[in-house]
Amino acid sequence: MKAHEVAIIGAGFFGLRIALFFAKKGMDVIVLESENSPFLRASTINQARIHNGYHYPRSYSTAISSHNHYQRFCDEYSYAVNLNFQNVYAIAKKNSHTTSKQFESFCELIDIPLEKTPSDISNLFSSDLIESSYLVEEAVFDGEKLKDSLLNELNKYSNVEIIFNSKVRKIYVKDGLANLQVHDLQYKAEKVFNTTYAGINILLQDSGFEKLDLRLELTELAFVKLPKEIKKLGFTIMDGQFFSSIYYPTLNCHSLSHVRYTPHIEWNEKDYCIDPYNLADQSQKSKYLHMLNDAKRYIPILKSAKYLHSKYTIKAVPVRNETNDGRPIVLKEHINDRDLVVVSILGSKIDNIYDLEKYLNKY
């Protein structure tokens, strides 16, 4: 089999963006995806939120970088971006890590607009539990459309090939080339990018490379139909063990996630490294009733929300970031000789892609 210049493992948003980056440079790129279609895991089974900074009142650097990338992302993927609903951020009175005052001064400092909600919206909240609420601009993306527009762009380049149903089991170096073992085939490449998100470490472990310091969580994202009075709204309660229900364009309903109930199982990959996606595919007992019951206390009208179903996926959190809530990308070079590169990339938020492109230039 002939050697490719660039091989990318995983056809999620990050993998395909990296493919595009090298395709534009005229390099010969191959993308290996274990599933039968792109974008099946973290790229779509996640809140569809495009962060504009509001979400990180305890990590200024993350907030600023989110805000800087927000407009760029919305412009580039305007086809997939949905601004057709109003996003409400509310501050809980008790047990919140932030207060209205702190939140307001935080938004002022990083210069993102904040507007108090009109009474018809603020009255939706239980005044016993919510201190204040704000209208913010934060769009959501349609995962399907994002995938389509990225694939369309890639289709313009004949030097990119995506191969599905090809799970890379192992990376090893032979004759100065990286060999990627898929079933009984070996793909050869000069530069390899491991963008398998939660699958990064199992591949590294099986290949004998040093693992990233990651904590994995099996998470549940519930989908609900909101009552029609609030269908055009999205809610996020800050900042602690609260919930968020925002529009999810792909399914034309709202997603519901809860800091306390969304993670079902967690483990540190330092101690325990398995193929996490096997776990995600096993049936889980939904915690949607816990999420909805808690949400009802804050927003009583959610009593008439209708639960549809849940999706489960694996979330990867870099261990060093657990306390300050920051979500920068993790980039780790396993091999970087002049002609041979093996790199793992963990992109946590979708807009982190713009941070990444700065790094890619050197390969």
Partner: protein, 324 residues
């Protein structure tokens, strides 16, 4: 099995390392046998022993355990308040974590509540393991409290009870600092009924309640919910003032008729000083008692601070590879 309701169990924990593990096991067994959706909220009221670690350990292997660690010891009533405010259940059960309240009674309590009662309390048929003095005292306390406050608290009802969401929301709206919970339950009202049960002896450990605590709680209960002591003192004071007036008039006329038999100024001085001071001190006592309470309420401080919150999150490690 009931699919559509969520059951919360709230239990305050204060230095219960000997009981808390067995309590969690028993309660979670009952919950998982009977309900599809439930949570067990343990409120650690600043325990100085191992209780918190034991709970955290169990969170790693069993689902639906939540731990609220208060920042210091606030007392049982506040711990219960924190638990109720954090609970999300359609029905919320309140019980002790010392195994005196049998978890096996939970389904009966909940069934009764579902049948249309907002509060169902477990009514003790016997008070096993309590001294004669305590039984007598508590009986008379409830009688006097009912007279003074106008709220009838059944003397066989403990804290072990289930509330509907409506009642929990109502209790959560009460912001007072002096929280004698049984009075708060009575204050919010709603339909209530008791189910008889036999309270168990402590499985291990000692009760952390002594007579001084009980006297404190009783005073809080009565004074926070009744202005009758003030009224009694007022009536008494008014009567005294009347007496004083009459005696002053008496002394005045006596002096007019027979001024030579007593020393100049003695009668009036003694009478005035005695009565005035006695009234003054009574007034001061009452006013300071009430002002003390007003001060506490006016400050409007948060009732408690939560130091740490954690929830069951099954941990995967090498020891539990089997269930993959």
């Amino acid at each position: 099995m009931n699919q559509d309701i969520l059951i919360s169990v709230v239990a305050p924990v204060y230095n219960e390392e000997e009981c808390v593990e067995k309590y969690m096991q028993e309660t979670l067994k009952v919950l998982s046998d009977n309900y599809l959706n439930y949570e067990l909220i343990l409120v650690d009221d600043g325990s100085t022993d191992n209780s918190k670690d034991l709970i955290k350990k169990m969170q790693g292997s069993i689902d639906n355990i939540r731990l609220l660690s208060l920042s210091r010891n606030y007392g049982r009533e506040i711990a219960i308040t924190a638990g109720l405010e954090s609970s999300i259940g359609d029905y919320v059960i309140l019980m002790d974590s010392d195994l005196q309240d049998p978890s096996s009674l939970i389904p009966d309590l909940v069934d009764k509540a579902i049948s249309g009662f907002d509060v169902v309390y477990a009514a003790r048929t016997h008070r096993i393991g309590e001294t004669f003095l305590k039984k007598i005292l508590s009986k008379y306390f409830y009688k006097i409290a009912a007279k003074l406050t106008g709220f009838d608290i059944p003397d066989n009802a403990g804290d072990f009870r289930v509330f509907s969401r409506k009642v929990v929301n109502s209790i959560n709206q009460l912001k007072e600092q002096n929280r004698y919970m049984k009075m708060l339950y009575a204050y919010v009202g709603f339909s209530s009924i008791g189910i008889p049960f036999e309270r168990q002896k402590r499985f291990a450990g000692k009760t952390k309640y002594n007579y001084l605590n009980l006297i404190n709680a009783s005073l809080d209960a009565v004074i926070s919910f009744s202005s009758k002591p003030l009224r009694i003192v007022s009536i008494f004071s008014v009567s005294l003032s009347l007496l004083l007036l009459i005696s002053s008039i008496g002394v005045f006329f006596y002096k007019l008729i027979n001024s030579s038999s007593i020393i100049e100024g003695w009668a009036s001085t003694v009478v005035l000083i005695n009565f005035l001071f006695s009234i003054l001190f009574i007034f001061l006592a009452v006013i300071s008692e009430y002002i003390g309470r007003v001060l506490v309420e006016v400050k409007n401080r948060p009732l408690y601070y939560i130091k740490e919150e954690s929830t069951s999150l099954k941990l995967k490690d090498k020891n539990i590879v089997d269930d993959l």
